[in-house]
């Protein structure tokens, strides 16, 4: 089941549309409100990273796909930016108080699995995130 498979411009002003679409897709898959909120946060943070660190603010697109696989919600984000060195995508220690660097921590905390499989031909990066759906909402 694929409740969302859509291409969005990688722009900060489109993050709101992405959050709406992701929330609707997660709800369609039967996620409870708390799970919907976690998935929305993870996708929003990941899209921010694509906008800022993959496209560096230049024009580009993000394909947001959400599937139900067994009892899991699977998010796949595809961009067409130059490949990012995933080894550098590490969360910072939380006891180090500074304004930035929380996004990856949020993603890794709220999602059950975060992976960077090889991207499809013609794409730059693929981020795959999995969240167990849990009981009915």
């Amino acid at each position: 089941m694929t409740p969302l498979d859509r291409r969005f411009p990688a722009r900060p002003e489109r993050l709101c549309d992405i959050r709406r679409a992701v929330a609707a897709a997660a709800a369609t898959l039967g996620c409870a409100d708390a799970v919907v909120g976690d998935v929305v946060l993870a996708v929003d943070e990941a899209c921010q990273n694509i906008i800022r660190h993959a496209y560096h603010g230049e024009d580009g697109d993000i394909i947001v796909r959400i599937d139900g696989e067994g009892g899991d919600l699977v998010v796949q984000l595809v961009d067409f930016a130059p490949p990012v060195d995933v080894a550098r995508l590490c969360p910072r220690p939380l006891d180090e108080l500074r304004p930035g660097g929380l996004g990856i921590h949020f993603i890794r905390t709220v999602m059950d699995r975060v992976e960077f499989p090889p991207p499809p031909a013609g794409a730059g990066n693929l981020l795959r995130m999995v969240k167990h759906i849990g009981g009915p909402s």
Binding site: L15, C16, I51, R98, P99, G101, L102
Partner: protein, 109 residues
């Protein structure tokens, strides 16, 4: 995102609402840092925050750090459940001064 300010008992209350994301957080940062430059005691009323992401949290952290350097006051008040969830994820609920209400936060000053 909505942001408005008013005075209360010597503090400036920043009433924050809606969705605080990468599109809007630069405006929040500008408002907060202008108040920090004026060395005002700030209370951020977060009751109507429906969503906040890491960029919004970063604006709050920067203002908090500036206030601390200036020995000033920076307090969050009436934090909504979605915003508190994100503060807890960042373990910042143990860092920020957080009051149950705007009035209680202003009274701390």
């Amino acid at each position: 995102m909505n942001v408005a300010t008013h005075d209360l008992n010597g503090s400036v209350v920043v009433v924050l609402g809606g969705e605080v994301d990468l599109q809007h957080s630069p405006r929040l940062r500008k408002v907060l840092m202008e108040l920090m430059a004026l060395r005002r005691a700030v209370v951020v009323d977060m009751a109507a925050v429906a969503y906040i992401d890491s960029s919004g949290i970063a604006s709050l952290v920067e203002a908090y750090q500036t206030a601390r350097r200036q020995a000033g006051r920076f307090t969050l008040a009436a934090v909504s459940a979605p915003a508190m969830r994100v503060l807890r994820l960042a373990r910042l609920d143990q860092v920020f001064a957080i009051a149950d209400s705007v009035e209680a936060a202003a009274a701390l000053v």
